[in-house]
């Protein structure tokens, strides 16, 4: 088993040493989302404006009169980082055109958690993608409203126990399946859509760099492990992300102009039980429940493989 996946062993030393998201932020011990933000910023570099939706990362990073951000950063509200981002992008574009700011490319990057992206911010995101703003949107998905105390979202997986979809005598936790957001965004004909995870840092950073270069909308769905909400050990954050990929419940892939590429291809998928049993939020599941989940994961994975094998780039279709 290649435990450090597909990157070169000494590659960390090649990474930008600059910390654009500084220490002193107040994220939980072992927060996967804080790590993912840190990695994203390294890949983006300094010519970036960050537009943050309300959520954990906003709360832990900018307690007035301090900020963890070494990049220009703006936060307005919960559901609107995509539309605030649209405004930033339009503003910078017009000011540059009019010669009022430096004539160089500054990328606008809107970020939000799964609540701010899958649920309350979906309309604003859809609008921004449809209008073709030169905007990268990165969703840091920790699969529930962690900021407000682990409530169920449209990104929460089937069977997870949350504070608003609790497991109990008559409930196995959330009874609906996770929304497939990457497909929803891809359906907007967005030229670059990718899934990523902080446990595969070079894959993630490469995707951020690729998306940054797109002139137009792009979207990255980044699985971000939340030890608090998932009820996992804080040192297991990286391992949990790896298991999500190795079991096939969160495959890493890209959709470039309609063409699907699987970035991490395990020889054989690990059983879902390996992933579920380490998480307190799934502790109540019976073998029968796990079987239901396994069946669905297999199906979704095969649907994805089918797209990877059969769908061509739009450029080859015209």
């Amino acid at each position: 088993m290649n435990i450090v996946e597909n990157f070169d062993l000494y590659a960390p030393r090649l990474v930008d040493k600059e910390e654009h998201f500084s220490a002193g932020h107040r994220a939980c011990q072992g927060c996967g989302e804080a790590l993912a933000i840190r990695l994203m910023c390294k890949a983006l570099g300094k010519d970036t404006v960050i537009v943050n939706a309300t959520g954990c990362m906003e709360v832990v990073s900018t307690m007035y009169p301090t900020t963890a951000w070494n990049l220009p950063w703006i936060h307005v509200a919960f559901p609107n980082s995509a539309s605030v981002g649209a405004g930033v992008e339009a503003g910078l574009k017009v000011l540059r055109r009019k010669g009022k700011i430096a004539d160089r490319d500054v990328k606008t990057v809107a970020i939000g958690g799964d609540g701010g992206t899958f649920d309350i911010g979906l309309q604003a995101l859809s609008g921004a993608m449809e209008r073709r703003h030169d905007l990268l949107y990165v969703c840091f998905d920790n699969e529930a409203y962690m900021n407000t105390g682990i409530q169920r979202s449209g990104a929460t997986p089937f069977g997870a126990s949350t504070t608003t979809a609790p497991a109990g005598a008559d409930s196995t936790g959330k009874s609906e399946w996770k929304k497939n957001l990457a497909e929803i965004i891809a359906a907007h004909n967005v030229p670059y859509v990718a899934t990523a995870c902080h446990s595969y840092p070079f894959d993630f950073m490469n995707k951020v760099k690729k998306a940054r270069k797109i002139k137009g909308p792009s979207f990255i769905h980044c699985m971000s492990v939340c030890p608090t909400g998932w009820r996992t050990a804080s040192e297991d954050t990286i391992k949990m992300g790896r298991l999500a990929v190795e079991t096939g419940v969160f495959p890493l892939y890209e959709i470039e102009n309609g063409k699907y590429t699987m970035n991490i291809k395990p020889d054989r998928l690990r059983p879902m039980e390996d992933y579920l049993k380490l998480q307190g939020r799934f502790r109540h599941l019976t073998p029968a429940d796990i079987e239901v989940i396994q069946t669905r994961v297999n199906l979704e994975y095969n649907k994805l493989l089918n797209k990877v094998e059969n769908l061509q780039s739009w450029e080859d279709l015209s």
Binding site: A23, A27, Q29, P65, W69, P201
Partner: protein, 97 residues
């Protein structure tokens, strides 16, 4: 970086819009106090791969002059990711106190 008061005292001192013009000033707050365990490095096992640096959610691990890695205990929250991910097993988490 100019050291700021923890809070502006009077309302007149509030910066318009609660904007913050001191990038990275969150460093004034030392999250090291959250830590129950601290990472201890055995440099004889270290292969200088930098995985601990990459995977640190605090970004508080850096490389010294000899190329070995070290965690800034002012910020390290003691999550244990570095020890868990250290391939050759050079990092051990030990209880504080």
């Amino acid at each position: 970086m100019e050291k700021a008061k923890k809070w502006p005292e009077d309302w007149q001192e509030i910066i318009p819009g609660c904007m913050v013009f001191r990038p990275g000033s969150a460093r004034e707050y030392h999250t090291g106090s959250w830590r129950a365990q601290r990472p201890v490095y055995d440099n004889s096992k270290c292969i200088k791969c930098g995985m601990c640096y990459i995977f640190c959610p605090e970004g508080c691990i850096s490389q010294d002059a000899d190329g070995y890695f070290i965690a800034d205990l002012d910020y390290c929250k003691g999550c244990g990711i570095c020890a868990h991910e250290c391939w050759p097993g050079a990092i051990t988490m030990v209880e504080e106190g």
